[in-house]
Amino acid sequence: MSTINKSATQINATILSNKRVGAYHQILLAIGDLASVCKPGNFVAISVGGDSSRMVLRRAFAISRITHGSASGGAMELIVAPHGSGSRWLCEQSEGSEIDIVAPLGKPFGIPTQPVNALLVGGGYGSAPLFGLAEVLKARGCRVDMLLGASTGSKIYAPLEGKRSASTLKIYTEDGSMGESGRVTAPIRDLLAQGAVDVIYSCGPMSMLRAISELTEGTDVVHQCAVEESMACGIGICMTCVLPVKNDDDSISMLRSCIDGPVMDGSTVAWDVVGKVPPAVHS
């Protein structure tokens, strides 16, 4: 009936497995037919804490990967960092327990119709949705290079099978404990200068997304970034998750990152206004 989140459904999903991977938990959920409508870049909103929980809001997680099983139906993979009480609760749930999810939510990554050179940049658990995306891009004939970064090695999420989906993969850690030492954004300037990139797909901390947007500014390179703002509802009804986005006339609109995102065109986000009030609306 609606045009917003038109495939979204609320279901009870059974946890198929829950494994620690470095600093994260890799959680696999049985989601049946819902698997067919989830796209890379979509997210899921999960109810946490059980029946008598004092946590009244859902928690948002990027859909990391979708697998289309046969008998049991499809499955959804999440990569969860135990951060506060909600994500910790989720990481503690054992195989077989049911959790209440709403998915798929939000705008997914745009997929080019032509084969292009794509650079995928992930920060921390932000790499999670990039592997599924890489597969889709490869299937479209794109070249896929991947850069992953984190503060330290245990926060790099780069599963073996995922690595295969990228043509190249480089890892950066700030403490040098894995891959090269430094920030994941460091090599991008050179790659852009070499003309080796048509599209950048990014997911990670806002500061990383902003840095990439600054690097692509003035170039032809498209920057699709998955933003992460605090979300109370995840479905467009609360207006807590807004980001300042530039309109064609250079005015700014506060758009809901849950339904107008999480994937946004990095060049339209008014990064310097994030967390501030834009100039008055002219009407």
Binding site: M1, S2, T3, I4, N5, K6, A8, Q10, S47, R54, M55, V56, L57, R58, D100, V102, E229, S230, A232, C233, G234, I235, G236, I237, C238, M239, T240, C241, V242, L243, I252, M254, I259, V274, G275, K276, V277, P278, A280, V281, S283
Partner: protein, 314 residues
């Protein structure tokens, strides 16, 4: 099933609604977003986000903080402005057969009157909710609903425009010393009904930055945490003015919560924060409420309204 033997319809002033559970202003945007999860005709009405005369950006982010059994919000009435809203959002809702209560918010008495005039010009709207209590607008010192006179003036301005075509429902803040006094002031000024309660003013300090967490510093507390405050306010006001219909709200997330507000004196119940945690909360609450009413031998909502007062003064 249970709906067959119980009359779930309700009224607020001269407006009739097919069911008792409504969205809460600011917690359903303009309705479209929730229509993916249930049919808007199933519920009482869509109460739309308070709209002002001009488009507004609202407050800076962060705009929310979860708190124990509740949340703080500091949206600052972001919105498209009344003209855009009436031209786009209201027709969409009416076309789909939803009942619509339009919520307006102003910074001056004149703005309220102007908004009322524009709303009156659009046919099909069921009621007008006048939010004179939002604590999030820039000029905090002057929240209308904190004083009898300013509350009365805002409602009086609206009453002069709306001559009884649709009910005027004044939405009050619980952040006052005596809510019955504010309630009587707005009823004397011409409000046909009352919406109780808006959020409670609160604050969270972020322990990393060691500063107020919200962009707007303070925010409005909503959710189950404030339900006892809502029940108290509704009970007090219904006690003082049993004939004035109340649209109750504050922390309702189940049928039992809705029944509590109804027994205290609410004729209808808005659900806000619960929809954030559960997009199908409203139809679920409606089903649970019907079952609870039936189990207690009620055959209609109306019989249950204010039932907790029945032995009062004895």
């Amino acid at each position: 099933m249970s709906n067959q033997v119980i009359d779930l319809s309700t009224t607020l002033g001269n407006a009739w609604f097919p069911a008792p559970i409504f969205t809460a202003s600011g917690c359903a945007s303009s309705g479209k977003e929730l229509s993916q999860f249930f049919d808007l005709r199933e519920i009482g009405a869509v109460v739309t986000k308070s709209v002002m005369n001009k488009a507004r950006h609202g407050r800076p982010t962060p705009r929310m903080a979860e708190t124990p059994s509740g949340m703080l919000n500091s949206i600052g009435l972001q919105g498209p402005g009344i003209d855009h809203f009436l031209a786009n959002d209201v027709p969409w809702l009416l076309e789909r057969g939803a009942k619509v209560i339009v919520s307006i918010a102003g910074e001056t008495t004149d703005e309220y009157a102007m908004l009322a005039r524009k709303v009156r010009a659009v046919p099909g709207i069921s009621a007008l909710e006048v939010n004179i209590s939002c604590p999030n607008v820039e000029n905090r010192g002057m929240v209308f609903a904190c004083e009898r006179e300013s509350s009365a003036r805002a409602i009086d301005g609206v009453r002069k425009i709306i001559g009884g075509e649709i009910p005027i429902i004044a939405k009050l803040t619980p952040d006052v010393t005596d809510i019955t006094s504010i309630a009587s002031a707005v009823v004397d000024a011409g409000a046909d009904g009352l919406a109780l309660i808006n959020t409670v003013l609160g604050m969270v300090i972020n322990l990393d930055t060691m500063k107020p967490h919200l962009g707007g510093k303070t925010g409005g507390l909503s959710g189950p945490a404030i339900r006892p405050v809502a029940v108290r306010a509704i009970y007090q006001v219904h006690s003082a003015m049993p004939d004035v219909p109340i649209l109750g709200m504050g922390g309702v997330s189940s049928g039992r919560d809705a029944l509590e507000l109804i027994l205290a004196g609410a004729s209808g119940v808005s659900v806000g924060t619960a929809s954030f945690g559960d997009p199908t909360a409203i139809p679920r609450i409606q089903r649970e409420l019907a079952a609870l009413l039936l189990a207690r031998g009620f055959s209609s909502i109306k019989d249950a309204v204010g039932y907790a007062h029945r032995d009062e003064g004895m």
